[in-house]
């Protein structure tokens, strides 16, 4: 599903990632752990096409068989909108849009029929225990509810892969546990592959594989 070969990244002459390779199978849930500043988010951003590695003929990132480093910005934008879901620590919901509107935005961008998308968004929100808050705005929701709305938004376009950066970093213990269990349910139901950067030991211990990144290298 994901194949990363020989990725390096340098910022201001400092090597943040040093020749990293990684393979992730379909339906696998992996976690990337390590101390702050180890390069976890940089790696996630590169694998998820939000950033590019240093130029090197041997560097490759394949997602679903597609050489994403060869795509131009327009093709990348389309690729992201249709194939990938993102969940961040600070869910980045749009404050002026209700829960259901936030979920619908990626579907509208993808050009899916609005009525169909709405039905699907309602179903997703319902399955995440958010049926009663569909018309509420982010500021009216708890942190856990906001994060579940972000999960619904990440799922609306049926992504094959979800990239999550500290998804429970901003949640209390109970909400974190519910969110972590949700990832595994989604894997069972939709065969989604997850790549998760986390400091949360409980979550990383639940994943199929835990990869430790230290100073830009696997340890």
């Amino acid at each position: 599903m994901i194949s990363v070969n020989n990725i390096s990244k340098t910022f201001n002459n400092k090597m943040v990632l040093d020749n990293i390779s990684l393979d992730v199978k379909e339906g696998e849930i992996i976690s990337i752990v390590g101390p702050s500043g180890a390069g976890k988010t940089t790696l996630l951003n590169i694998i998820s096409t939000l950033d590019k590695p240093d130029k090197n003929i041997d560097s490759k990132v394949y997602i679903n068989g597609i050489d994403v480093l060869s795509l131009n910005d327009i093709k990348l934008s389309k690729f992201r909108n249709t194939q990938i879901g993102f969940i961040f620590q600070f869910h980045e919901l749009l404050p002026e849009f209700s829960a259901i509107e936030n979920v619908l935005i990626p579907a509208i961008i993808k050009g899916v029929n609005k009525r169909k998308s709405r039905a699907k968004a309602l179903e997703l929100l319902d399955s995440l225990g958010l049926a009663d808050v569909v018309d509420q705005f982010p500021s009216q929701l708890s942190g856990g509810e906001q994060q579940r709305v972000a999960v619904a938004r990440a799922l609306i376009n049926d992504p094959k892969i979800i990239f999550a950066d500290e998804p429970s970093g901003n949640l209390d213990t109970k909400s974190s546990k519910l969110l972590h269990e949700l990832f595994f349910k989604l894997r069972e139901k939709h065969k989604i592959t997850f790549v998760i950067v986390t400091h949360n030991k409980e979550l990383s211990n639940m994943t199929d594989r835990k990869l430790n990144l230290i100073d830009g290298k696997w340890s």
């Binding site: 131009n72 910005d73 327009i74 934008s77 909108n81 002026e96 849009f97 935005i105 509208i108």
Partner: protein, 257 residues
């Protein structure tokens, strides 16, 4: 093109995004909702002009303060401006960041003068068109406002393209008034001015997207950048180049492009 993208590919991409973002669903939090409360041309242009003037900062605050301005004008801006005395205007008070009651009262007085000298705001802009853009018209509006006896502090609230400013807010206002389509966002209540001579409202977000696409090279967001961007967009659609403002805005805000 700097980005290595083909022009046709960029045009197709921007056309696709225009259809997505020129949509009332995406403007519910936009200041354009204020002039949408009115149906009379002059009410639309006054409410649009005042709203655009204070359209910087948090959207929520812009909308709240624009609504407050409309309330102060009894929600009949044209009628209020034409029939109000200096004493009436002097009672009004508003504060939006650096736009305060001195600026607001002065704007109202000058709008009253404008409607005594011209049929409407459109006429002032129309009569001062030079070349193939509205830069001179904006300059003339500014000159009209700041001819004599004006508070110096208020001059900062109308930018001048001939002094190098990108004039984002007034170009946005002009897009609202001039662009006409069936999507229900822009008004198109100004019929004498062709959308082909509009300039794109350039800000940090639309500038970033335009540079990434390779249709803008200049680094500063100033009038020269506006001219460069306009030239690019006019190749894509000579009749309606500023429709791509929706594309650049949506890509920046909703897609983090």
């Amino acid at each position: 093109m700097v980005s290595g993208l083909k022009k046709s590919e960029i045009k197709d991409f921007l056309d696709e995004k225009f259809l997505i973002y020129n949509n009332i669903d995406f403007i519910k939090s936009d200041p354009i909702q204020i002039p949408h409360r009115f149906s009379n041309k002059k009410d639309i242009e006054i409410s649009g002009f005042l709203t655009a003037t204070i359209a910087w900062g948090q959207r929520k605050t812009i909308i709240k303060n624009s609504l407050k301005m409309m309330e102060l004008l009894d929600n009949s801006p044209y009628d209020f401006i034409i029939n109000s005395s200096e004493k009436d205007i002097h009672k009004l008070s508003i504060k939006h960041r650096t736009f305060n009651e001195i600026d607001f009262r002065f704007f109202l007085k000058k709008l009253k003068d404008l409607y005594q000298e011209y049929d409407d705001m459109e006429e002032l802009f129309f009569l001062n068109i030079k070349k193939n853009n509205l830069h001179n018209s904006i300059h003339k509006l500014r000159s009209f406002f700041f001819k004599k006896d004006y508070p110096l502090r208020t001059t900062k609230h109308i930018s001048d393209p001939l002094n190098g400013s990108a004039c984002k807010r007034i170009n946005m206002f002009l897009r609202w008034m001039v662009r006409k389509d069936n999507y229900g966002v822009d008004f198109g209540v100004w019929n004498k001015i062709s959308p082909s001579i509009l300039s794109c409202p350039l800000d940090v977000h639309s500038g970033r997207v335009a540079r990434k696409l390779g249709i803008l090279k200049r680094k500063q967001n100033d009038n020269k950048a506006v001219i460069e961007l306009d030239n690019s967009l006019r190749i894509f659609d000579p009749k309606d180049p500023v429709k791509y403002d929706f594309s650049l805005f949506g890509l920046g805000v909703f897609e983090g492009f």
